[in-house]
Symmetry: C2
Subunit: 357 residues, 2 copies
């Protein structure tokens, strides 16, 4: 019986709708297991810009630092995407949060619920049993290097950077995880072309010496993008840089049937942040049809990783499994065989999950 | 009846085996259509390093400049991949060739031969009818910017750079191509995070004004990596930067059933270079099992784009189609239903293609 303070940071678009469901799940867990969870809310992204002028107000950052864990939604708005010269952007709030909280490791477990074998565009016989844990580095690379214009704005540049220290700490996390799983680690880089990747590979090779029980392979990012689809079961733990991780984990969402099912944990020096890997999805915002399961599964990761509540975390995952087994689907994971009365909106899907906790 | 001089540049690994088949196909076309094709050979990559100490000798470059087209194989060797500190690398030869010949546009057509619908890990009903033409920028981005180490080698950096001019010329090629096809262009970037992408998007938006008949969309690279698998048919022409193009086209090879089927054309200011998108594949080198069809289809692209020989080019593509229809497969595109006597090695597959030209 623990007392914990959780910060809810819904952000933009469907972030609002799905995070509300994630919070209900945390509430139910607290009630069932006798924990006391207290909550606060904070702004980030477009909604923060509208309210305060900045994408991550100091007040939000303060609240994050003081909480035991953050349940986060998404940031982004089409308004900025179509204006390449916008100076203030929702994404800056997300990147600042990652940097300021030292969230250098982004964990993205890719695992298919059996019931969703048919929902993917990939053949079931290729997918069955696939179970990948991505470690995406989250506070370095081209995301955080100097960027700008020169030649009167006619040339743009971005600097990618990695230090040994940055690679080492994420490498250790990935090797440790591999030890508790299939004992295989695939490190992804582009060492045949870029220097940050050559440093990356050097460091992985060095850290590998401390983990002789883990079998290591190095793959180029282009080959990996292909292999993930061709043979996802060959992977166990995958560790990669920020930009490559961004691309490969979105791609890998197809292994899990839909992006709407994938949760992630961002951890590092302090408070951990838990979020769906899907974005703000403005095309379906406010329609009540967003799949809340990625937020629900983010809450499960939060319970496990930040609070060490394994049993509670499994209770959430099992509830999701049960709902899927009962045939319920949100629109994104429904297929031609799903009866119309089994297709649920965001809130109804959440209620089903609560029923089974 | 034309006279043309073709340079054969096999490079490393299976590059040797597959390019030999590509050349036989060009020979057969010359004989059948009454053209005179003369040939020369040149070194690049690991074989060039072994012979001369450098990955692209001046002599090779001279020969490339003087020829009417180049049929290229692959470069690369595991020896360098596992030694992040190697100073001379096979890939430097490839990059230098692209830069020196001004090959700024890499065209990668992704189209599935009907017979291979089953060979992909993606469901046939998702793939059927997919037909994408990628334009990957090839002489800019993080590939060619300054790179190095600082802090006593403890920090590595790579600079990504694009000028307006570089984006404009590839954009025009892509828009022109979209005009002759489905009139849809998808530009892929990461404009929510990096500055080179914001310049990229600005320029695409500007060039788009000259092509009001082409429908343009902008996608982020992470979303695109997902959408390519989820719904490949939504794409027609895709234009993107060097690094994103490297990753996305390898991924998209799964749409075509196998990497062993995909050809590419690198064009720009002078001689065009035609090559498979697969690499040197040292694991199967010398075994005579490599799929030569990507090299054969590269020869078809060469005939079409560099020589304007549409009929000859189609004759090659039709021959490949015929061979597949007759049930022949190389190992990489065979499946459980392929009878053993229909699985052919590199040379035998080549002979089948020649039979149908
Ligand atoms: C919104 C964007 C800045 C972000 C990223 O690129 O990291 C998102 O794609 C993600 O993966 O969390
Ligand atoms: C070999 C390598 C340098 C090259 C690249 O990254 O461009 C290859 O992957 C390609 O796509 O042609």
């Amino acid at each position: 019986m623990a007392t914990k303070h959780i910060l809810i940071v819904p952000g933009d678009g469907i972030g609002q709708e799905v995070t509300a469901v994630g919070k209900l799940v945390l509430d139910k867990i607290a009630a069932k297991y006798g924990h006391t969870f207290t909550y606060d809310e904070a702004l980030i992204g477009h909604v923060a810009i509208e309210a305060t002028g900045v994408p991550l107000p100091d007040e939000s950052l303060e609240k994050m630092r003081k909480s035991d864990a953050v349940l986060f939604g998404a940031v982004g708005h089409p308004k900025y995407d179509n204006d390449p010269s916008a100076k203030v952007r929702p994404e800056q709030g997300l990147l600042k949060m990652r940097k300021e909280l030292g969230l250098y490791a982004n964990l993205r477990p890719i695992k298919l619920f059996d019931e969703l074998l048919g929902a993917s565009s990939i053949k079931p016989e290729i997918l069955k049993g696939a179970d990948i844990l991505f470690f995406r580095e989250l506070t370095g690379d081209i995301y955080f290097g100097e960027k700008g214009r020169k030649n009167d704005g006619d040339t743009a540049y971005d600097i990618a950077e990695y230090s040994r220290y940055e690679v080492e700490r994420i490498a250790r996390k990935a090797f440790e995880a591999a030890r508790t799983r299939g004992k295989k680690l695939c490190s992804v880089d582009k060492a045949n072309v870029i220097e940050t990747s050559r440093l990356w590979r050097e460091v992985i090779q060095k850290v590998a010496l401390e983990y002789p029980d883990v079998q290591v392979e190095h793959q180029f990012v282009d080959a990996t993008a292909m292999l993930l689809i061709k043979d996802p079961r060959r992977f166990d733990v995958v560790v990669t840089a920020n930009l490559f991780g961004d691309i490969l984990t979105d791609e890998a969402s197809q292994i899990a049937g839909s992006m709407g099912m994938l949760a992630s944990a961002s951890i590092g020096d302090g408070t951990g942040v838990y979020e769906p890997i899907h974005g703000s999805a403005h095309d379906i915002t406010g329609k009540g049809v967003a799949n809340p399961l990625a937020s629900v599964l983010s809450a499960a990761l939060l319970l496990d990783i930040s609070f060490g509540m394994k049993e509670e975390s499994e209770a959430v995952i099992n509830a999701v499994d049960k709902v899927l087994k009962n045939g319920f689907r949100s629109r994104d994971i429904a297929d031609a065989t799903t009866p119309a009365d089994k297709i649920l909106g965001t809130a109804a899907m959440g209620e089903q999950v609560l029923l089974h906790i």
